[in-house]
């Protein structure tokens, strides 16, 4: 277990003479815990996953919190815990909870639930910045967990809104055979039906002995019997085979999902709404573009910062109530204030639909209406969530 503390070297100095409001000094320690997960082998190594994925988002969020805090007499520290594969995640969480009740967790669903269900975590506030599983927003929700990472359901709905708007009514799907692929594919299928699209063939991509040539040569053959469709969805969570599908399909059709048109939390092509500033701050810090995971971790850090700024408090319960109240809003560089759903703790947020070179659209798309906010056309709405932990 590796622990590092990023202290604020200058904030003490800067606070002198700047904290004009007479406020009590508040110290906020945020624990960032990352479960290392070895990525499965993929056909291409062109896009390695950065080692500091997520961590850099935490660092940027910390910097921003520190800058704001220095005008208010509030100091922030970040403690980073990296849990190696096969490491004792629960022990790391327990250690973190011993010094702070504010945790940002970047881990798969199983570890997240393990953390949330620790008796020590009962009154803490946990941010899920890594697990997109729909169940965590539904029957597996936990009252002390807020989600800054969008769910698979939000991303799937974003894509379907685009298809409806473009009248790409008929959908086919190829999914990998790993459990994440199946979960992502199921969510896409469910969403397509919800939006009234015609869901046709669904095939599993298993690169087994029948496929002896390279992937791109197999694809035309593999997609020959999908029937007719307007758009081909690819569910490949590990980014294994999806990149070989575009332009190789039997029918000339656009590809979406894990390849082609992708619903993302964040991407370097997002530039509007002041995003260019966030992008360049991140690039300066990390020397690489800000990715999905970085954004989710950054948003958790900033949500804490925003709530501390507005309440002048640093305890988990005050912050949680404030974040779930009407008063809370996070400026997330996505063109609208971001808020938390009071029925499952999910951060409402627009979903950019991108290809590698440009933003194509941003959901919710115009015309998809909701009585509360159009952002609730994405993901689990109150009646369908099934989360009971939030009911009191």
């Amino acid at each position: 277990m590796l622990r590092t503390r990023l202290a604020c070297a200058f904030c003490g100095m800067l606070a002198v003479g700047l904290a004009t409001d007479v406020m009590a000094q508040i110290e906020v320690d945020i624990q960032y815990i990352k479960q290392e997960v070895a990525p499965p082998p993929t056909l291409s190594n062109l896009d390695p996953i950065p080692d500091d994925l997520g961590l850099r988002g935490a660092e940027l969020g910390l910097e921003e919190n520190i800058t704001t805090g220095r005008f208010l007499g509030q100091t922030y520290t970040l403690t980073v815990t990296d849990v190696p594969e096969g490491g004792d995640f629960a022990a790391s969480v327990r250690a973190a909870l011993a010094s702070s009740d504010l945790l940002v967790i970047d881990a798969p669903m199983a570890q997240l639930l393990q953390a949330a269900d620790l008796p020590e975590a009962a009154d803490a506030l946990l941010f899920n910045a890594g697990a997109a599983d729909v169940a965590l927003r539904a029957d597996q929700c936990r009252a002390q967990v807020l989600h800054t990472v969008p769910s698979y359901a939000m991303k799937a709905d974003a894509l379907m809104q685009f298809f409806v708007a473009r009248r790409w009514d008929e959908i086919a799907l190829i999914a990998g055979d790993r459990s994440e692929d199946v979960a992502w594919a199921d969510t896409l299928e469910h969403s397509a039906r919800k939006f009234g699209l015609k869901f046709g063939a669904r095939k599993t991509w298993a690169f087994d002995a029948d496929m002896r040539r390279n992937a791109s040569q197999e694809v035309p053959l593999f997609t020959q019997d999908l029937g007719d469709y307007d758009v081909l969805l690819v569910a490949d969570a590990a980014d294994d085979f999806a990149r070989y599908i575009s332009y190789n399909t039997w029918r000339p059709r656009p590809v979406a999902g894990s390849e082609g048109l992708r619903p993302v939390t964040w991407h370097r092509v997002v530039e509007a709404w002041g995003a260019a500033q966030l992008q360049s701050r991140f690039e300066d810090l990390a020397g690489r573009p800000m990715l999905d995971r970085d954004y989710a971790v950054w948003a958790a850090m900033r949500a804490i910062g925003e709530a501390v700024t507005r309440t002048g408090a640093a305890d988990a319960q005050t912050l949680r109530s404030y974040m779930l109240s009407d008063a809370f809003e996070l400026a997330g560089f996505k063109g609208r204030p971001l808020t938390f759903r009071t029925w499952n703790g999910q951060l409402r947020q627009p979903i950019p639909l991108v290809h590698e070179r440009a933003l194509v659209a941003q959901a919710p798309l115009e015309g998809f209406l909701h009585q509360r906010t159009e952002l609730d056309t994405l993901g689990l709405d109150q009646p369908e969530s099934g989360c009971t932990a939030y009911e009191n």
Binding site: T67, F71, G274, E306, E329, A331, R336, L375
Partner: protein
Amino acid sequence: MKLPILATLSAALLSTTALADEIWVTNEKDDTISVIDIETLEVVRTFETGERPRGITFSKDYSVVYICASDSDAVQVMDPETGKILYDLPSGEDPEQFVLHPDNRHLYIANEDDAITTVVDTETRTVVAQIDVGIEPEGMAVSPDGKIAITTSETTNMAHWIDTETQTLFANTLVDSRPRHAEFVKEGTELWVSAEIGGTISIFDVATQTEKAKIDFEIDNIHPDRVQPVGFEFTNGDTHAFVALGPSNHIAVVNAETYEVEEYILVGRRVWHMDFNRDRSQLFTTNGVSGDVTVVDVASRKALKSIKVGRFPWGAAFRPTE
């Protein structure tokens, strides 16, 4: 073939003698300025600038125009007669918006990427001071007596109050999310600050730096999330504020005495900043997404015309020509 040359010449003469006041508009994604003739309501000249021009303001005597060329990391000084860039001022990194002190000499510049306000002496062309402010400083204002400068920071969500004598902060006041623009009004007794994501304008009593009122905006059939106040300007006597509401594509007319919204006027897409003509009877708004400028008749509160300019018009500044 001398005739065409003569014709061109006389046309050129005509255009320089028939002087009309102008509105200068910076086009953020074209690296140009479009000059609108207020008589004809047409773009009559286009000048090239540095990269990503945003803030624009004339010197008090209108002899030069200052332009924030954000991606060139410079404040450019242009001769408004010729459109020639005379020289660059040191500006700190990524200058987005600025304000000229009433002394006509000091520019207060928001350095968006650096969390700094830079003060530049335009005569000696040197940086006089750099002041640490919150993240993404943007809105800039100076009180009419020149004693207070304001920087608003978009991500820190504050108005930072700068004592221009000492160039240090003497107060920091929280506002709603993403403050964008600030103006002193009513002879410097009030400070107005717009908050884009918060959807409000906060009004501060300048003497005590305390918030005395807050304005909300509400447009039928437009979700509050899309009603995002950005730039605003005041009519004669500071009786009314015209407030650009970003992606709601409307401007609001606010009674500056009662702080109540009297009307909403539909303009172009993602309306951002604005300026008036000489007698403040007409208002010119920059509409970033639709790439045009809407002309609004102030008395009737009606949009009169849209004028196509460059890509993503951002700032607007009035220039009298006599």
